[in-house]
């Protein structure tokens, strides 16, 4: 195999793996990334006296396709999540953000509390027809309890027939408030704090690591 064919094979293998690792990104976004990385590889290797060695160096500095894809996802994940209304997307993003610092941890706690509240209220609304005398909004010596009461005889239920509409509205309100708060927190985050500091390694350090092994 000629050296040019070897170089082309390595580039295509790298880009194919990168494309797979970029997974669920929007096609136009993924295509743009692949196009830019291909251009970068070609431009960088062009000026090298040794085509194969030059490609090895460029690919080493890019990192493995999986590492590069993870950086793209991490960098843009918060930005995309801040524009999403999906509790699952927001919760998942907060979980990953929490691993990076205090703001993310706070956001994750807000998400867990808010969505748990909404879920609990929703569950109570659905169970009310099956356990009408045990589920309600209870006030008594032990304080306030919304949901299942183990000792209903000691407590006073205050909502009666209004329990379902009031608690359903409360569940909706809890979910909406949590969602909007998380979107606001993500938009107000300090920039450049998405990727862990360990990823900010100088090119000189990466040069020391072995070349990436690619299966042609």
């Amino acid at each position: 195999m000629t050296s040019q064919a070897l170089v082309d094979g390595r580039i295509e293998t790298y880009l194919n793996r990168l494309g797979s690792a970029l997974g669920g990104l929007a096609p136009e976004y993924k295509d743009d990334i692949l196009r830019e990385i291909r251009t970068h590889i070609m431009d960088s290797a062009e000026h090298s006296a040794d085509p194969v060695g030059g490609i090895d160096r460029v690919l080493r500095l890019l990192g493995t396709p999986e590492e590069l894809a993870a950086r793209y996802s991490a960098e843009c994940q918060l930005e995309r999540a801040s524009r999403s209304f999906s509790p699952w997307v927001l919760l998942r993003t907060c979980w990953q953000w929490a691993r990076l610092g205090i703001r993310g941890t706070l956001a994750f706690l807000v998400a867990m509390f808010g969505y748990s509240l909404a879920l609990g209220f929703t569950l109570a609304v659905f169970l009310k027809p099956f356990l009408p005398s045990q589920i309600g909004m209870w006030i008594g010596p032990q304080g306030l309890n919304i949901g299942l009461e183990a000792h209903p005889e000691q407590m006073h239920e205050v909502l009666g027939n209004y329990f379902v509409p009031v608690i359903a509205a409360a569940a909706f309100l809890a979910a909406i408030t949590t969602t909007q708060l998380l979107r606001w927190m993500m938009r107000k985050r300090a920039p450049g704090l998405v990727v862990p500091a360990a990823d900010f390694v100088a090119a000189a350090e990466i040069e020391k690591t072995p070349a990436i092994k690619l299966r042609s």
């Binding site: 743009d32 990334i33 196009r35 830019e36 990385i37 291909r38 251009t39 970068h40 070609m42 431009d43 960088s44 062009e46 460029v58 500095l61 890019l62 990192g63 590492e67 590069l68 950086r71 793209y72 991490a74 960098e75 843009c76 930005e79 995309r80 920039p191 450049g192 998405v194 990727v195 500091a197 360990a198 990823d199 900010f200 390694v201 100088a202 090119a203 000189a204 990466i206």
Partner: protein, 122 residues
């Protein structure tokens, strides 16, 4: 082993410092010119000696564009590959000014603080 732990902590601190400065450095390289990725890397290396791996730069450029601080377009080269050029948007220029202002206020004070250490070493 204490010496390795100190080395790792020093390396981590330096990585934190690079991370904090890199976004400002990228915006600064684009202050006067439209550049593509490889040109940004060269500018960072030649003007500031802030070498950063390509695998770190491109995702950050992508995020800065998603935040609205950069804009980009593909330009067909006369000979060679089409290249994706970046430039600062108005919010990007505002952010760059804010960061430069903060840096100019912060850096001289820290230089004064560490000057005795550097003098002591030499």
């Amino acid at each position: 082993m204490p010496s390795n732990a100190n080395g790792d902590r020093g390396q981590n601190w330096e990585a934190q410092l690079r991370k904090g400065c890199l976004e400002m450095a990228i915006l600064a390289t684009l202050w006067q010119s439209r550049l593509y990725g490889l040109e940004i890397l060269r500018a960072l290396s030649e003007k500031s000696r802030l070498e950063v791996a390509e695998g770190t730069l491109y995702p950050i450029l992508s995020r800065l564009k998603a935040e609205g601080l950069l804009e980009s377009e593909w330009v067909e080269a006369e000979a060679g590959h089409p290249r994706k050029y970046y430039w600062l948007t108005a919010p990007g220029r505002r952010r760059a000014r804010e960061m430069a202002g903060a840096w100019n206020e912060f850096a001289p004070k820290l230089t004064v603080l560490v000057e005795p250490i550097a003098a002591g070493r030499s």
